[in-house]
Amino acid sequence: MNQLVAPAKSLDKSKTPGALFSTLSIPIAILVLVVIGSVASPSFLTVNNLTNVLNANSAVGLIALGMTFVMVSGGLADLSVPANVAMGALVTLGAQESMGTGLAALMGLLVASMGGVVNGILIGYLRINPIIATLGTGSVLLGLSQLLVGGGIVYAQPSALSTFVKSSILGIPVFIWIFIFVALILHPLLARTSFGRWSLAVGGNYQAAQASAVPVRFTKAAAFAMTGFLAGLCGVLLALSNGQARPIIGTGYEFVAITAVVIGGTSVFGGNGSVLRTVGGVLITALIGNLIILLGFPSQATGLITGAIVLGAVGIDAYFRRKAGRL
């Protein structure tokens, strides 16, 4: 082997407390919440309720999946999510009459994706700070969407597509299937493809990634385009299943998505993260919402509990990271 004496004792990564925490924290948190739930309420461990839990956040969960790529690639966060959700929803319902539901939905997706692409160009290619860029585009797009409906509400016409969106397959609602489907595509995209590796590299060290022939601008831009698309998808699905849409439809979704990603343990600094863990984060936030109602807490307490969990999870993670000497 090597004549130079190894100064480092062999170190098995998976056995440090920090690594243990980051691999086990999500399953444990979910377990704890499930235990609390089943102790507190007899209705918790029913198929119906568990479906509800999954169903509750699967629409906004789609956005969290996209947001994972944004954060991993060092793009901080996409605050224009509510605007893209509204765009997806309003365009779909607005165009439904003239072009039919299917095409209208595609139109909605397209417009929201365009919003994402604009973000991508501003952030990836012009290198504008993501917080500011998405604040700006969000403001513009939301304004446009309100202009579009002249301030009000758009109703859907009954259609096969909306019936399908509201239905269940094998007893599981279509929303959940879509969420699972997207997660199953995006997880390997991050963990197993070149694009995923690029995302991690760009978030880890932008300059070095650029100097390693990684298409840095494209990678960063793509994360935002993808999030725009998924926000649009979320909007389209909500519009079709609710039968109506208003510009406020996605209000607060950016925070829910960020919270889910962060609870999932993806670093806001970029450079690490996993879609699977975000799925865990989505589950945890959904469980919290479910438990608050089952336990009869006032719903205003949601923010308090979610915030405390974010602080706890990230704080402990940061503690272990520091102990491991990796800042």
Partner: protein
């Protein structure tokens, strides 16, 4: 403030060319937007110049806009209070400047109302009361109900909750509130919360008070999904088209219809009367029409 009531009473009868500042709740909202349009139409008809500024649901923004309307020295102010209290200082200033103020749609607090010449709109507090009566009557004053409230702290939510709770109490109703959730006037949020409520309480839910029809719709969606076949009494507010359908289908018990366009017209007309120096009643009511299976086919949805 050389304009204001003095000059208004000086050449009573004509308000042509006078200016009105209208602090509205929002620019883009299913109820507020048509109300704004009604106000504009009434102002145009009277030849009054109307400036609409939107507080975007924030009483603080509204209070500042009110101040700024006063300092512009307009001839009349139409105010959509987003909460009960925040406008008091601005109203005091308006009074000092001699600018008449009329409130639209939502009442401000009692102290504020003393500085407001008139109120034109459906009484939301009253809507809460009516909802309580509807539920109590339909359920014979027994059984559990859930309340799906609007955005916490929002003026409409406060009035509709307040009227509802006060009325239940004053009626000595036997209804038991199982749970109250805030779903922010949002169908999706109501849907998610209702799923959990249905899981928890099942058919203990005899009645539902949804503070608007979109949230009632969310509840009904959750109920449908759950596959449970009990039919609670669902009471909504606003008179949306969707609610009309649900009432026809027997899914929803009732809603309360208040026509927004008319509300706007009425408010401006009232304000113009005040500016002309006419005496107006303290409240110019916009009828709260209860819509249920009996009259649903005779009425037009508000939005």
């Amino acid at each position: 403030a050389d304009s204001g009531t003095d000059s208004a009473s000086g050449d009573a009868g004509s308000v042509e060319g006078k200016s009105i500042c209208y602090v509205t709740l929002a620019n883009s909202h299913p109820y507020v937007t048509p109300a704004n349009e009604g106000a504009q139409a009434a102002a145009d008809a009277a030849g009054v110049e109307l400036t609409i500024v939107s507080e975007e649901f924030s009483a603080q923004t509204g209070a500042e806009q009110l101040n700024s309307c006063v300092s512009r020295g307009v001839d009349g102010i139409l105010l959509w209070p987003a909460d009960e209290n925040s406008y008091l200082p601005g109203l005091l200033k308006a009074e000092q400047a001699g600018i008449p103020v009329v409130a639209i749609d939502t009442r401000a607090g009692d102290e504020s109302m003393e500085l407001i010449q008139s109120f034109a709109g459906a009484d939301k507090y009253d809507q809460g009361k009516i909802s309580a009566q509807q539920l109590d009557g339909a359920l014979d004053s027994t059984g559990g109900i859930v309340v799906i409230a609007g955005q916490a702290g929002n003026g409409t939510e406060i009035a509709r909750s307040g009227g509802f709770l006060d009325e239940l109490e004053s009626m000595g109703s036997g209804l038991e509130i199982l749970a109250t959730v805030n779903a922010d006037f949002d169908q999706q949020k109501a849907l998610v919360a209702s799923r959990d409520l249905i899981t928890k309480f099942g058919d203990q839910i005899k009645g539902v008070y949804a503070q608007d029809d979109t949230m009632a719709k969310g509840f009904l969606q959750a109920l449908e999904e759950s596959g449970l076949d009990f039919v609670p009494v669902v009471v909504g507010i606003n008179g949306e088209a969707g609610a009309f359908d649900n009432i026809r289908e027997g899914k929803q018990f009732s809603t309360i219809l208040q026509p927004p366009f008319r509300n706007g017209e009425l408010a401006i007309e009232t304000l113009i009367s005040v500016m002309k120096g006419e005496t107006v009643p303290e409240m110019v009511p916009l009828e709260n029409t209860i819509v249920d299976i009996d009259n649903v086919d005779d009425l037009e949805p508000a939005l």
